[in-house]
């Protein structure tokens, strides 16, 4: 007697045997699609360790769980962005998305078109069974017109997606369609996809006898039979004729196969090549040795940097508000004042900016609070000093000018009116002076120099250091001259006032 021998099934290697039998109904096309994928993987020569499969939700979504690969069963519609993260974080992975038409084309439709557009390196297998099978056979974005489902019992009124056409329009470099009755062609297409860089898309039309077939007089094998008999297999099918009607033949074949730089290739070319040197323009980094405090984490005993001898001691927080029109560089002024105080004068400074919905042109303001001790409340509520560079800004912020406060303005651009007598107005033709220096854009730096000469709360040395660290390379000379011009104007004015 011959002993029966139990051999491994040739596909066992790639299946989680302990999870079989699967949940799919008799007559369902999903088994054939999964089987074709296993065959394609086996012939691919890929190291399976580096193959990952991602599914969404639904009958097809269960496929990930049956493959003996790194497999991810995600949320409804989100397989593609999840797969995008996997692939980009580890480009060595071959990432396959295996999901259904409702999952990929309805709830996940936005992800589908954008993944194709950006040509992200994933392989998408979309099994289209014309309806939502797992939830009981409702209609969806691929349900043919007039087809009956549990939610289109009078016949579907909507036009379905022509998915291959959609994908081609989005720029997918590989697009094919087969039915589950064509395992051989499916396998060939999948094999090509596994070799293809960039985004590839395969639509597989598959029967759902339990739900779709039952309600459309296409029970069990009849639907599959129809695919076999009615499919038009073409070497170069016309994608515009690939619409699917309930009774029409189904155009199959490879619609698109072209070369286009994949997302990862483009990233390498356009980004990686340029990032070697990135100058943090205006980042104002200062070495720790020169900084007022050591980070709490630092164990190194190193002495804290010496407190500068000219450090202004500010007992009560000083509130400063700067206002101008967008583009005048008022924000940069605030930034430099903040850096000077917080880093080089070893004081505390808080800087905030008022945002308005206009991207450019509206009056805007930035505020700084300076103190030698802790600053708690971040907002300037009662400015001690205001700097205003334009009439539009004056009109908007005049309400904030308090009795007894200091108001620094551009002499030519701001006409102050309706102010309490106690306001100390100090004016400089900053824009005119900047023009004389050859560049109107440095008017903000001129007024900053003027501010430094008059306001005792920030040391000159700190301001000069902060200025140098906050301006683009190559503009130092002009900016320093602008600063000096404003500073000298202020000092001269003070001297004259003293006389």
């Amino acid at each position: 007697m011959i002993e029966p021998q139990i051999l491994d099934h040739p596909k066992d290697l790639l299946l989680r045997k302990e999870r079989i039998p699967h949940i799919w109904c008799p007559g369902c096309g999903l088994g054939s699609v999964l089987s074709a994928l296993v065959d394609a993987l086996k012939s691919s020569g890929l190291d399976f360790k580096n193959v990952a499969v991602v599914s969404g939700i639904g009958c097809t979504g269960r496929a990930a769980g049956y493959l003996n690969l790194d497999s991810f069963h995600t949320t409804h519609g989100r397989a593609i962005p999840y797969a995008t993260g996997l692939k980009l974080a580890n480009p060595d992975l071959t990432v396959i998305v295996f999901s259904g038409d409702g999952d990929l084309a309805a709830i996940g439709g936005n992800h589908l078109i954008h993944a194709a557009r950006r040509n992200v390196d994933i392989k998408v297998i979309c099994v289209n069974n014309f309806n939502y099978g797992m939830t009981g056979g409702q209609g969806g974005p691929t349900t043919p017109r007039l087809a009956r489902t549990t939610t289109t019992i009078y016949g579907n009124t909507e036009k379905p997606f022509n998915l291959v056409h959609l994908m081609a329009a989005c720029g997918a470099p590989y697009v094919a369609r087969w039915t589950s009755a064509h395992p051989h062609y499916m396998k060939i297409a999948m094999g090509e996809m596994l070799k293809k860089d960039g985004f590839s898309f395969l639509e597989v039309i598959a029967p759902c006898p339990t739900n779709f077939g039952r309600r459309n007089k296409l029970r069990e094998i009849k639907l599959l039979q129809r695919f076999l008999e009615q499919a038009i297999l073409e070497a170069q099918p016309d994608i515009a004729k690939a619409d699917i009607e309930l009774d029409s033949p189904i155009l199959c074949g490879k619609f698109v196969d072209l070369e286009r730089p994949s997302y990862l290739a483009a990233l390498k070319e356009t980004v990686s090549a340029k990032v070697k040197v990135y100058d943090f323009r205006g980042d104002g980094r200062v070495p720790l040795e020169e900084a007022p405090v050591k980070p709490a984490a630092a164990k190194a005993p190193g002495k804290p940097a010496e407190v500068p001898s000219e450090r202004p001691i500010i007992q009560r927080p000083v509130q400063i508000k700067l206002a101008g029109l967008g583009g005048q560089g008022i924000g940069l002024c605030g930034l430099i004042i903040g850096r000077a105080a917080a880093i080089f004068d070893h004081n505390q400074a808080v800087y905030t900016q008022e945002y308005s919905p206009e991207a450019r042109g509206g009056a805007s303001a930035s505020s700084i609070i300076i103190a030698s001790g802790q600053i708690h409340t971040p907002y300037v509520t009662e400015p001690d000093i205001m700097v205003i560079m334009a009439q539009g800004a004056y009109n908007k912020y005049q309400k904030d000018v308090r009795p007894g406060s200091r108001l620094i303005i551009d002499k030519d651009l701001v006409r102050p009116k309706d102010l309490p007598d106690s306001v100390q107005i100090q004016a400089i033709p900053s824009t005119r002076l900047a023009e004389e220096l050859g560049q109107k854009v440095v008017a903000n730096i001129v007024i900053l120099g003027f501010f430094t000469a008059l306001v005792p709360h920030i040391s000159l040395a700190a301001m000069q250091k902060a200025l140098k660290g906050s301006i683009p390379k190559g503009t130092e000379e002009l900016n320093l001259r602008a600063f000096e011009t404003g500073y000298n104007y202020g000092k001269k004015m003070q001297e004259e006032e003293a006389v």
Binding site: V54, G65, G85, Y278, V286
Partner: protein, 382 residues
């Protein structure tokens, strides 16, 4: 390759500091979608990540962003996204997936005024309960709240370390003020920054079960490409990761997901007490509102009122034991937050009538007026 830690002293916004913190913590993947007031984080990451060998991608929406960072995490990268309230509303679906599949990642919410589009450029603190239970189903999560740009840097690192240690999405609840304000930020040297990494698999493929709890109820985490043929699903699953649609599996899994945070809350919860000993009234606050409370304390001290401050560094899990304990010794807890009572409810629950609880709420758009807070305090004190 560029440096991931650019040591030095800066004058940074909270958003910029957050991005710097993420890189220092080892973040190498960012997926996001522009939204005020968080966009500067994405902008900074788009510049910096390619310099350190990481990937930045702008997705088609926040749903995709959240899905992408989960995928990246399972590919072995520390990953992050940043958004504001409306974006969080979209991300909650996949935050739930992250919780269920125990996926380490960091989600930054720079809170603005809501509901709906609300106040895009102005502050709010009303997403606190959303952070806790916004996704469907029962779970526990970790959320932190920085009150300054320096803390934005420090807490982003903490957030990554907590996510990696406890294998859960960690939410950094910043607010618009902290995100946009500039202050001195010190970035220490690389060697002085503590970084935690997820526990890797201790057994070879075959025997190993990817969702079997180990130390502190946390499973060891293999990633894609290591040969473990892992299965990761949002369905209720067994220790192998396979779907198990039955109540016993549900109890085992979901109870562990809840317990791994609750039972370890002493290791996770974090708060700061100032002048609490001997205080009759304690202010309780977080984020930018903490700063206002500090100002209130200073004014109160001048007036001779002894006021304590209990400031939440980690909001979730909530330090319930400590709040319970303090409630037996004081006259009142006054919660100061930019919403109409979210943490205040948590305080009330913990206090359970043992002392007075009072909310000083605010609709958002700006911070509290310290005088208003003081008035509430004085009313209780008198």
């Amino acid at each position: 390759m560029g440096k991931d830690v650019l040591t030095g002293t800066y004058f940074l916004t909270g958003n910029e500091a957050c991005a710097a913190g993420a890189l220092a913590a080892g973040c190498r993947f960012f997926a996001g979608y522009p939204i005020t007031p968080s966009s500067e984080i994405a902008e900074r990451m788009s510049i910096r990540l390619p310099q350190v060998g990481g990937v930045y991608i702008q997705m088609e929406d926040e749903i995709a962003s959240m899905a992408a960072i989960l995928g990246a995490s399972w590919a072995g990268a520390k990953s992050m996204t940043a958004t504001s309230g409306p974006g969080i509303s979209l991300m909650l679906e996949n935050i739930g997936l992250g919780v269920m599949t125990e996926t380490p990642c960091v989600v930054v919410n720079v809170m603005r005024g809501g509901p709906s589009t609300g106040l895009p450029t102005l502050v709010g603190q009303a997403d606190v309960m959303q952070a806790r239970w916004g996704s469907h189903g029962d779970y526990e999560i970790i959320a932190l709240s920085p009150s300054s740009p320096q803390e934005a840097f420090d807490y982003t690192i903490r957030a990554f370390n907590l996510a990696e240690t406890w294998r859960v999405p960690v939410i950094l609840l910043m607010d618009e003020v902290v995100g946009h304000m500039r202050e001195r930020v010190v970035i220490p040297e690389r060697k002085d920054i503590k970084v935690a990494n997820r526990p890797g698999p201790g057994e070879p493929p075959g025997k190993f079960k990817a969702f079997k709890p180990k130390k502190d109820l946390i499973p060891e985490m293999p990633v894609a490409g290591q040969g473990y043929a892992i299965h990761v699903t949002g369905l209720t699953h067994d220790e192998r990761g396979y779907p198990a649609i039955e109540w016993e599996a549900q109890e085992k899994l979901v109870y562990r997901l809840v317990k791994k945070i609750r039972l370890n809350s002493a290791k996770i919860a974090s708060w700061e007490e100032t002048g609490v000993e001997g205080a009759e009234i304690i202010l309780i606050s977080y984020g930018v509102s903490t700063r206002i409370c500090r100002a209130v304390r200073e004014i109160a001290r001048e007036k001779g009122v002894n006021l304590g401050l209990f400031r939440l560094e980690v909001i979730w899990p909530f330090p319930e034991k400590r709040v319970q304990e303090l409630a037996t010794r004081i006259k009142a807890f006054v919660t100061v937050e930019i919403n109409y009572g979210q943490i205040a409810l948590e305080v009330e629950r913990c206090v359970a009538g043992k002392c007075i609880t009072q909310l000083v709420g605010h609709g958002g758009g700006t911070v509290h007026d310290p005088q208003k807070v003081l008035e509430a305090v004085e009313e209780i004190a008198s």
